[in-house]
Amino acid sequence: MYSKAWTMIKLELCNLYGCNVLRFSKDKKSRKKAAVMVAAWACVIALFVLYIGALSYGLVMAGMGEVIPAYLITLSSMMIFFFGMLKAGNVIFRKEGYDMLCSLPIHQTAIVVSRFVRMYVENLLLAVVMLLPGLAVYAWMEHPGAAFYLCSFFCIIAVPFLPVAGATLIGALVTAVSARMRHKSLVTAVLSVLAVLVILAGTSKISAMEEELNLVQLAEMVSVIFSMLGKLYPPAVWIGSAAASGNILVCLACFGLFFAVFIAVAAAVSIRFSFICQNLYSNLAKHNYHLGQLKKESLLISLCKRELKRYFSSSIYVTNTMIGPILGVVFSAVLLFVDPASVIKEIPLNVDINKLIPFAIGGIFCIMTTTATSISMEGKNWWLIKSLPLTTKAILDAKILMNLVLILPFYLISELLLIIALKPNFLELLWLLIIPAAISLFSCVYGITINLHFPVFNWETEVSVVKQSASSILGGLGGFIIAILCVFGITKIPENYMDLWNGAVCIVILAVTAVLYWKNNQTDLRKIG
């Protein structure tokens, strides 16, 4: 059993992030793309390291060095938990290779364990990136004893256990509930997004409670932060405090506890594993169809309908790309109940909120566009679309149209809420309508551009396309980055020239969009994939 589990683990890990394919691939083009992907990841990691390092330095300078481990553990655990929750179901219960594995003499626990280990290792990398710079700054400035280094080691390897277990448990529950239903992917997507929103609302409530506390206990900042972290995620305080004080026994005890929870969740999932998988993969075949009257549709409508069906057939695709528009509406709704003037006090920017909101809402809407991975998502079906008598323009238009159709209801609701909340004048209303629309349009077209340059068709799971591909990283955040740059511009522009700035920004964004759109449509799709 153990040797088979180990074999399964090796199988899971050997192609983590596509390493094995890259190792044995002789295709120079794919190696080049992988190099770009590594460079993109290196930039993200470098930014992370810098940010965490600076944050930790600031905390030490403020005399709060001892909160660093607990603070960073909470931060990384939250990230692992939220990102993990959206993909856990797809990783643990993924269909690819399931039939083949079931035909082999392997206990299903070995399969579950190997998939849990994969989740753990992926998240361990995140924990290392987040914790190591902070702990290094702490060690450099506070000169702790030798025990600190040993504790830090156990701390880092223990951090992913609980959030991965929690995320997997919720992911498994969502998957188990949806497995019984006909529209499994859609139900999974809706439940996952709901779970994220409920947990976000819960954590913000805890933070709000602590804000009141802050005012009373400003003098005891360290204990206030510990108290806050303790309410948010108590295990972080247990192991974080133990690491800071070099208490190896408590560290080991925490490590043991976290590991035990991880194993318990894996065992619980393995009990229902085959039941969930069988329900998940069995599709109802009624064999009772009677051919009736058929309807002819226009080319674009037909292509767009197919894109929508593809989109809603994948829960991971929906959850990752719907978060942005949903957050946009939530953000707009919050402004109905919170005084916009109080919001601007919280932001370290000297700018009128009515000027800022159009860019902010545009940016939020464009967190992970569908177009950035829509070509890759064709996967093994890519031959089909290429064999049809369709122009590149028709194929790509359908993908852009689907993204815009998805955003549209959220955009309209959001605009309505913002108009009620902000009561803008005519020009402000104009920018409120145009700027998010322009950023969204750019984002959709830019997503296609990036995906045409970094397509992946031979993927094992949809997770690797939607979450880990170069295209999802570089293309999915295009609109968001543009929005941030524009907000930065606002802070530098005098108030009198603000409308001019907005107009110029819109013209530039739309002009760039038009150029990209034209270039995309010139692509010979036979050369892609």
């Binding site: 002789k26 295709d27 599709n283 075949a285 002819k296 031959w383």
Partner: protein
């Protein structure tokens, strides 16, 4: 119907591909394309179907140059791959409707053709089910109906008999004969040499990316011989030069 002139396609970083392939397929031709695994059959078929670009040469479908009018060429043909990876998130009828929409087939015509072929291949009752529930053979039948729904002039089939049950294979052969009798043409790859010999009027043999023989079946397969023995002689390196030369001489004689 299909004219291939000096087609050359090589993959970067790989020795695989095809070199200097020339073939003429006339209306009414049922043309078999045979060769060992990795010989270049699928590459050739994909180039004709407009799925893959090529390095040199020319392809004309129904008189249209694929380099100048790719869409027009695709409009005249239908391609069926060796492994029917279809949109598993669609039902069979949704998929057929989608293909019919792309080719602009009128509602009444698509209904009539789908009914005819789905009934013949006995999958009408399953058309309302998701393609993900289909077996390999059912997918093969579905992709076949989708290829016929727009009445193509040229059918490009990559090992079409794989996965089909005996009855479906017989129906497919009948459909193929019917299309060719109606002035259409079919170019298909196969490893089943008996089928190729009995069904086709022409044959092309490819080896290591180069065409080693092509022409009328009765000229290539002489009396007392079989396509199987010819194929073995032609693709066998040692001692086959004389036979290859003989077949080469018959190249384009038709």
């Amino acid at each position: 119907m299909l004219k291939i002139e000096h087609l050359t396609k090589h993959y970067k970083g790989s020795s695989k591909g095809v070199t200097d392939i020339s073939l003429h397929i006339m209306p009414g031709d049922l043309y078999a394309f045979i060769g060992h695994n990795g010989a270049g059959k699928t590459t050739t078929l994909k180039c004709i179907a407009g799925i893959q670009d090529f390095d040199a040469g020319e392809i004309f479908v129904d008189g249209k140059d694929i380099k100048k009018d790719l869409i027009g060429c695709k409009q005249s043909l239908a391609y069926i791959p060796d492994n029917p990876d279809l949109y598993e998130y669609l039902t069979g009828i949704q998929y057929l409707n989608f293909i019919a929409d792309i080719f602009g087939v009128a509602a009444a015509a698509r209904e009539e053709r789908i009914r005819q072929y789905a009934d013949e291949l006995e999958i009408t009752a399953s058309l309302g089910d998701l393609i993900s529930t289909y077996s390999h053979g059912m997918k093969q039948k579905l992709v076949l109906i989708s290829a016929l729904v727009h009445k193509p002039k040229l059918l490009i089939l990559d090992e079409p008999f794989v996965g089909l049950d005996p009855k479906a294979s017989i129906i497919l052969k009948d459909i193929m004969r019917e299309i060719c009798a109606g002035g259409g043409a079919i170019f298909f790859s196969t490893h089943v040499l008996e089928v190729a010999e009995k069904l086709c009027n022409k044959v092309a043999i490819i080896k290591d990316g180069s065409l080693v023989a092509s022409g009328n079946m009765d000229e290539i397969v002489e009396k007392g011989q079989s396509l199987e023995s010819i194929f073995m002689e032609v693709v066998n390196d040692s001692g086959s030069i004389a036979k290859t030369d003989m077949v080469e001489n018959k190249k384009h004689s038709s």
